[in-house]
């Protein structure tokens, strides 16, 4: 059976109950990582098809804050208090992190209202909302770079910089072309992953059969650049109360040739109030 070679799976099947204060410990086990030994220089792509994959965003946000990384969160989809309240369930306070300078939070919804109704003197990261024709995301990139470049005092206060974006598909809806978004990701990767040796995590929706060509271009382009792809899918058989979806984890090596097969695992999951539990396909506790 797929996945049996990972020793942690047996622990899952025996029904280990995770402490709810540690983001999603089961997901950490599946990814074989902990906040202490987080990797660097990686691009992680989160993708959801026919379901809501935002729980992965909450996971990575609290994971990297616990790992003592400096996080720049471009939150385009929901308000600050939404992420904050969920993060508190996972044991992290975004307000406190923001105050001590560990978290730089761009609240897209609130900022969009500011930039749309009032002309700003300095270029605003969401300046493209005021433009008549599709521009580029350079102001947004500058914002990210300024947020994550460490201050010149030499002392490294935080472990490594992390850029988190929720989500890139919204940028397409707001008039940016797929190429502009891919350029933005490219620039961010060059700065955050290569120059600053940090990580980048971004969510893109998979529109499936909605024939969204721009979105497909973006998704395929990012898939080729990512080191890790987490893809959540709604079940093909429809809604189920006990199994909310399926998660496919794909480890990739974008720089090397594809002669060696990429490792992949598939699990099903159920989202609970403060945790997400994972189990092998067909092994939901409700069924066993």
């Amino acid at each position: 059976m797929k996945g049996m070679h990972l020793p942690d799976i047996r622990m899952l099947l025996q029904g280990a109950s995770p402490r709810s204060s540690e983001m999603f410990p089961e997901l950490n086990n599946l990814l074989n990582t902990t906040p202490d030994k987080a990797e660097q220089g990686k691009l992680t792509l989160l993708c959801d098809a026919r379901t809501d994959g935002s729980f992965l965003v909450h996971h990575f946000l609290s994971f990297y804050l616990k790992a003592n990384c400096k996080v720049c969160f471009v939150a385009l989809l929901q308000s600050f208090s939404h992420y904050n309240i969920v993060a508190q369930k996972l044991g992290v306070s975004l307000a406190a992190a923001r105050e001590r300078g560990q978290l730089v939070f761009l609240e897209g919804l609130k900022s969009s209202v500011d930039v749309f109704f009032q002309a700003q003197e300095d270029p605003h990261p969401l300046q493209f909302l005021r433009e008549a024709s599709a521009g580029n995301l350079q102001p947004l990139y500058e914002f990210v770079r300024e947020a994550l470049t460490p201050a010149d005092n030499g002392a490294a206060a935080w472990r490594c910089p992390v850029l988190l974006v929720d989500d890139l598909s919204v940028l397409l809806s707001l008039g940016m072309g797929a190429v502009a978004v891919l350029d933005f990701v490219h620039y961010c990767r060059a700065t955050v992953c290569c120059e600053l040796k940090g990580n980048m995590v971004a969510l893109v929706h998979d529109s499936g059969d909605a024939e969204d060509e721009e979105n497909n271009t973006l998704l395929i382009g990012l898939s080729h650049q990512s080191h890790l792809i987490l893809r959540t899918e709604g079940l093909a058989t429809g809604f189920c109360k006990d199994v909310h979806g399926q998660l496919r984890i794909l480890w990739r090596r974008p720089s090397q040739s594809t002669a060696r097969r990429d490792r992949s695992l598939t699990f099903q999951y159920k989202i609970q109030d403060k945790n997400v539990s994972f189990f092998a396909r067909g092994m939901s506790p409700a069924i066993l």
């Binding site: 809501d52 935002s54 729980f55 909450h58 929901q78 308000s79 600050f80 208090s81 939404h82 904050n84 309240i85 969920v86 508190q88 369930k89 306070s93 307000a95 406190a96 923001r98 105050e99 897209g108 919804l109 609130k110 969009s112 209202v113 749309f116 109704f117 909302l129 005021r130 433009e131 008549a132 024709s133 599709a134 598909s169 919204v170 397409l172 809806s173 707001l174 008039g175 929706h205 529109s207 059969d209 909605a210 024939e211 969204d212 060509e213 721009e214 979105n215 429809g238 809604f239 109360k241 989202i271 609970q272 109030d273 403060k274 997400v276």
Partner: protein
């Protein structure tokens, strides 16, 4: 959005500090914590607003959609600060009803209304709102309140036990304590109720005739004007808490009828490759930004069956919070199908938001049908096998 009430939770202190530094301090998302009950110990009191109630799950403020059956399916009601998108049925027979229920509920609760339409004058829409069904006990207080302009503090209001401890607030001309009312579609709402209510209308042909220049920014002019209109009302009347003169503690109910029609100047319903394909999604994004930072709730009906580009429908759905689609049986083969003879159509709950939470209040039942009788719009689980 920062929380208005700081609760006993540890992060409450820092949250209120962050709230003080951020521009708008008004939110619909209020934490319900152990110390949040009305006493003066630390932090501002939770002020209860007419026609709202906190969600059972996470204390979020909810308003009724005007259709109690739909409220139940959405987990108690519509969250303040969110958008309810109704995908219209093919001949636009039942979606205007949902629109009207929403607005009528606002009038009954004394909320301020903002009605926007490109095809119908908002004043006409309001005249056609259904009359509320009040049982006898409520009818008595209804009559009393219409007569009394200023409610005395010793009028005995029959209120639910939960609200008995809340502080008395400024009430509108109609006070009905129930959350969610039933409406009689065959009767019109009494004129006095409309006259005493506060409403703003946006009728596109009127607004477009004025010659003021609007800065072009890839939104169709109709949408631009509507956004400016909404933002103006929110700011002027203090729904976002940023206007120091206005202490608003009421909900703004926004209703936008048939968004996306060519009447708005948008060609999203006309062709598959439209020029202004981002106009609608940009409008929704900015609108949601306005809603999240104010005490308002919005219903939008959209003729999605006319939109040929499926990608746009997917984007619009992702940019809305709650999405409900109506499918009527009129003119379809299901009209004569004996399975559906008791019903008028199907109602699909396409999306329910996860707000302040990892999970959402999804109902277990997915096959829902509705029927409209004179007094009741009911939503039921489809009975496929009798």
């Amino acid at each position: 959005m920062a929380a208005v009430a700081t609760c006993g939770a540890g992060a409450g202190g820092t949250e209120s500090m962050a709230a003080a530094t951020s521009k708008s301090n008004v939110t619909s998302f209020q934490r319900r914590g152990p110390r949040a009950r009305g006493t003066d110990s630390g932090g501002p009191r939770l002020v209860s607003i007419a026609g709202t109630r906190p969600s059972v799950r996470n204390g979020q403020l909810l308003v009724s959609t005007g259709l109690p059956a739909l409220d139940q399916l959405l987990g108690g009601g519509l969250a303040v600060g969110t958008v309810l998108l109704v995908e219209e049925d093919k001949y636009s027979i039942y979606s205007p009803l949902l629109f009207k229920y929403f607005l009528a509920e606002g009038i009954i609760n004394g909320h301020t209304l903002l009605v926007a339409s490109a095809k119908e004058d908002p004043a006409d829409i309001l005249q056609e709102l259904p009359a509320p069904l009040l049982d006898d006990s409520c009818k008595k207080e209804f009559d009393e309140d219409v007569c009394n302009k200023k409610p005395e503090s010793d009028i005995k209001m029959k209120i639910a036990w939960r609200y008995q401890l809340s502080p008395k607030m400024e009430v509108g001309p109609v006070t009905s304590s129930r959350f969610g009312h039933y409406y009689d579609v065959s009767k019109r709402i009494p004129r006095e109720l409309i006259e005493t209510s506060k409403w703003h209308g946006f009728f596109l042909p009127e607004k477009m005739s004025s010659a003021d220049k609007v800065e072009c920014c890839s939104l169709t002019p109709g949408y631009m004007k509507l956004l400016h209109f909404i933002q103006n009302i929110i700011y002027e009347e203090g729904f976002d808490g940023s206007n120091p003169q206005k202490k608003q503690r009421n909900i703004l109910r926004i209703g936008i009828q048939s968004l996306g029609l060519p009447l708005w100047g948008d060609d999203v319903c006309c062709s598959e490759n439209c020029d202004s394909s981002h106009s609608l999604s940009k409008f929704l994004y900015i609108l949601r930004g306005l809603l999240r930072t104010s005490l308002s709730a919005c219903i939008i009906t959209m003729p999605t069956h006319l939109i040929q580009n499926k990608a746009i429908i997917a984007r619009v759905t992702n940019l809305s919070d709650t999405v409900v689609a109506l499918e009527s049986f009129v003119g379809s083969e299901r009209e004569t199908n004996p399975l559906y003879k008791d019903y008028h159509g199907l109602i699909h709950i396409r999306q329910i938001p996860r707000l302040n939470n990892l999970i959402c209040d999804e109902s277990d039942v997915k096959d829902l049908a509705f029927k409209l009788k004179r007094k009741l719009f009911t939503i039921e689980d489809k009975v496929l096998y009798k």
